[in-house]
């Protein structure tokens, strides 16, 4: 039975209908080994693509900064400056409508930063990189920043009642505590799972199908998994961050 199956798949491989399983590659490769505090660590694919993403963002930021400093306020801004102004305005509007006009302006820096970073990371699959957000280390770090911000603002605006709210219905105390801990885990797993499922599916398509089909067919899948799904997940991550933080503003 097993040999029969092997023969069938072998003949498929000979006809060029199915390529070898060694071609399927969507994992993380460790390139350079190093030790830190006695732990064996690796310099991986994620680091390389995250460095490329950050370089792109830094270059964009430097160019935008120079253009804005040189800009003449009495003239009509050019194309690039218009796009930058539109982005800043859109992020300001997003934070102000979701966090209220009183506190919203303070957070538009942070929300804008993670929005641009996650968006560029998610669509970096289009440019042949392995998306950095398809690594649990990246998304867990982002979610832990949100977790720290939630509790910092909770203690800042609600003082001691931020802790006593956990015991409000005394019977539900364990569920409240688990709910607080589950917030960063569910946020990070949502982003990670969505991007990783796209990466796995693209890897299977590229690795298993004949070369001719992979020239045409993945375009549609890239449009869905990288652009659409990536943009939606970016929006959702920023939206949930804003909602959780603005929940702590209510003083009662």
């Amino acid at each position: 039975m097993y040999q029969g199956m092997a023969a069938v798949s072998g003949s498929f491989a000979k006809m060029g209908m199915l390529r070898a399983s060694q071609d399927v590659d969507f994992g993380i490769t460790g390139y350079q080994e190093y030790t830190l505090f006695g732990q064996k660590l690796y310099f991986t694919t994620t680091h390389i693509s995250i460095i490329i993403v950050m370089l792109a963002l830094i270059i964009f930021a430097v160019i935008a900064n120079r253009k804005i400093k040189k800009a003449d306020p009495n003239k009509v801004p050019g194309t690039f400056l218009n796009i930058v102004e539109y982005m800043v305005q859109a992020i300001d509007d997003l934070t102000l409508t979701n966090m209220g006009t009183k506190h919203g302006a303070k957070f538009s820096n942070y929300i804008g930063t993670i929005f641009i970073f996650i968006l560029l990371s998610n669509i970096s699959g289009l440019f042949g990189l392995r998306p950095p957000t398809a690594d649990y280390g990246t998304t867990l770090a982002l979610a832990l920043i949100t977790f720290v911000m939630i509790h910092y603002n909770g203690f800042k605006y609600q003082k001691a009642s931020h802790v006593t709210n956990l015991f409000k219905p005394l019977l539900l105390t364990p569920i409240n505590i688990i709910g607080e801990i589950a917030t960063p885990i569910s946020m990070s797993l949502r982003l990670f799972g969505n991007i990783l499922s796209g990466t796995v599916m693209m890897g299977l398509i590229y690795g298993l199908l004949p070369k001719i089909i992979t020239l045409v067919w993945p375009g549609f899948l890239h449009a869905y998994f990288d652009v659409f799904s990536g943009a939606i997940q970016t929006y959702v991550f920023c939206m949930l961050t804003m909602v959780f933080i603005s929940n702590t503003f209510e003083e009662d």
Binding site: G27, L189, N194, L196, S197, I232, Q233, Y235, V236, L240
Partner: protein
């Protein structure tokens, strides 16, 4: 032999874990249907309805992604092989 059995059982378990995809499918479809009904009733609020619907769908998707994470761990991390 034992190794083969564990690998086969891991593959079957990964397949069973993906049954978790049923729930988010139903939930997202229901949310999309309700969103369509809401747009039909009040076409002016289309932008707000669509963004709320997408947020709700993304949150409903979480349980399916937990199943996906379990399947991926069973297939590629093989935690059960260490127990032999």
């Amino acid at each position: 032999m034992e190794r083969a059995i564990v690998l086969a059982a891991s593959a079957i378990g990964a397949g069973i874990a993906m049954i978790a995809g049923i729930g988010p499918g139903i939930g997202q479809g229901y949310a999309a249907g309700q969103g369509a009904a809401a747009v039909g009733r009040n076409p002016g609020a289309k932008g707000n309805i669509v963004s709320t619907m997408l947020l709700g769908q993304a949150v409903a998707e979480t349980t399916g992604l937990y199943g996906f994470a379990v399947a991926i761990i069973l297939l590629y991390a093989n935690p059960l092989l260490g127990k032999l």
